[in-house]
């Protein structure tokens, strides 16, 4: 329970940064009029980068991008994955085997490679990153959903519901989804953290949203050259990444403990 609260606080910090960035920023993100590599303090709270841009401004925009990447990927991966998992869970044996094999193949394919493929076909943007991460995630979610659905379908209460005349769509909405939801939710929360890291990795490699969108991954990349002279530029985005990912994981752990049915 303590972990859950701590997780909420950590995620809350990033949420707050992102929310404030929507209405107020210390400087214009494209403003290069500041002195270069100013250390923290004074007019620039966290200093400036090698082009004289305010670091805090970019970190705040980066929070927005990280959260968008996480939420977008989880939404896409969740919807696709749950739909595919339900289909596989209900499918005849032949179709189920085919789907399971396809999912395993997709999971075996590295996310970053898939992302490069998507970027090659489309362009380097937040949308492409979300598409690639979401697709890769959907395979993992689908595999979990399939197993959960199969386990629920084997339960007597499904037979009992069918016995009392519930149609399959109704059984799905009333019994299957509510029973797989707690486990799925915890997994999606973990996937959110992984998606944030994946987006940062893509941006670090230059496959994320292009400048002037300051993804944390790209800030890390840009600060690399000056890490010895202006360490804050590399440390700050790193710390924020850790704060968000650890926070999300703590929330996921907390959700697992709070999930109904654990007292059974």
């Amino acid at each position: 329970m303590k972990g859950f609260v701590a997780g909420c606080v950590l995620v809350g910090v990033v949420l707050a940064l992102a929310a404030v960035s929507l209405v107020w920023l210390p400087y214009d993100p494209a403003d290069t009029s500041g002195a270069r590599l100013v250390p923290p303090g004074g007019a620039h709270l966290l200093g400036t980068d090698k082009l004289g841009r305010d670091l805090l401004t970019h970190l705040m925009i980066g929070a927005r991008i990280a959260l968008t990447a996480g939420a977008g990927s989880v939404l896409l991966g969740g919807v696709l994955g749950v739909a595919a998992g339900l289909a596989a869970g209900f499918a005849t044996r032949w179709l189920d085997d085919a789907l399971a094999a396809a999912l395993d193949a997709l999971i075996a394919f590295p996310t970053l490679l898939l992302a490069m493929l998507v970027v090659a076909v489309r362009e380097a943007s937040l949308g492409s990153a979300v598409l690639a991460i979401g697709l890769a995630m959907s395979a993992v979610v689908a595999r979990l959903t399939r197993i959960l659905v199969k386990r629920v379908l084997a339960q007597d209460y499904i037979t009992a519901a069918r016995t009392s005349g519930s149609s399959w769509p109704r059984v799905i909405v009333e019994h299957v989804l509510p029973n797989i939801w707690p486990t799925l939710l915890v997994n999606l929360a973990l996937q959110f953290g992984l998606a944030v890291l994946a987006e940062a990795s893509l941006s670090y490699l230059g496959l994320g949203p292009p400048p002037p969108n300051a993804s944390w991954g790209r800030l890390l990349h840009e600060a690399q050259a000056t890490v010895l002279t202006a360490p804050v530029g590399a440390i700050a985005p790193g710390i924020l990444l850790v704060v968000l990912v650890v926070g999300v994981n703590l929330v996921a752990d907390g959700l697992r403990d709070l999930a109904p049915g654990r007292s059974r």
């Binding site: 044996r93 037979t159 009392s164 005349g165 149609s167 009333e174 509510p178 049915g261």
Partner: protein, 263 residues
């Protein structure tokens, strides 16, 4: 009036192996038929075949008419109308038969809403009436299955099965998982409700003493085939087949043991 007409019913696995061989019987309004046999004898398969709910990979062959509707090979849409209305069932494991994440009241309300079109206050009243019928207090309606005892859960499952007043009730070992004292209570309750509503009952069990206490007629199954069938009285008095004889004999042995200890 014949509610259930099972004719030459067999159940096969995908590889053609037959698990139930040519079972035939009929059941009319107000009749009580007992299906008895050890585990693996095909009792539960018979129940699932009648409900057309056989697990994937198993297929039913032959004919099963439920209130005149052919169930074998029927489409789901058609079956959804038969299940719950013409035929309903209570299963062995009461904890498993209720959705762990849904309040009991809502689970009983489900069939009432769908079948009888009840809403709001009328629905709530019907749920409470259904609970009262199985002698459960009102507070059970807002409890989750894991919060109530095994006996109460099985009563709730019975309330759910009877909510839409089916013509035929299938009870698949409804008391096997319960404590002996609770077992007697639930049996008496089931017995009373079936008599009161004039339903037909197909009672499945492995314990001769229990099944014989409920059913007028018996079918003895072994390895998926009928060993013996007839009036309960006749079978208990004069079992013809060796397997039936051993069933009756062992039931008496328990009885004799009690008599010896407490004459």
């Amino acid at each position: 009036m014949t509610l259930l007409d099972v004719d030459d019913l067999s159940v096969r696995q995908a590889d053609g192996h037959e698990l139930l061989h040519g079972l035939s019987f009929t059941l009319a309004r107000g009749e009580r038929l007992g299906l008895i046999g050890e585990s693996g004898s095909g009792k539960s398969l018979t129940a699932l075949a009648i409900l057309s709910l056989l697990p994937a990979g198993l297929t039913a062959h032959g004919s099963v008419l439920v209130s005149g509707t052919q169930v074998v090979g029927a489409a789901d849409r058609r079956l959804d109308r038969v299940r719950g209305r013409a035929v309903s069932a209570v299963f062995q494991e009461p904890l498993m038969a209720l959705d762990p994440l849904m309040r009991i009241g809502r689970q009983i309300a489900g069939p009432l809403r769908r079948r009888r079109g009840l809403r709001g206050a009328a629905l709530r009243a019907a749920v409470l009436a259904a609970l009262e019928e199985v002698r459960l207090p009102e507070r059970i309606a807002s409890a989750y299955p894991h919060e109530v005892s095994g006996g109460q859960r099985q009563r709730a499952a019975i309330a759910m099965a009877l909510a839409c007043e089916p013509d035929l009730l299938i009870a698949d070992e409804p008391t096997t998982a319960l404590d002996v004292s609770v077992q007697a209570e639930v049996l008496a309750l089931l017995d009373g409700l079936v008599a009161e509503k004039g339903m037909a009952l197909l009672f499945i069990g492995h314990d001769l003493a229990v099944v014989a206490g409920v059913a007028d007629r018996l079918i003895v199954l072994r390895d998926g085939a009928v060993v013996e069938s007839g009036r309960t009285e006749d079978i208990v008095k004069e079992p013809r087949h060796t397997y039936t004889r051993s069933l009756v004999h062992s039931a008496w042995e328990f009885e004799a043991e009690l008599d010896r200890l407490a004459p």
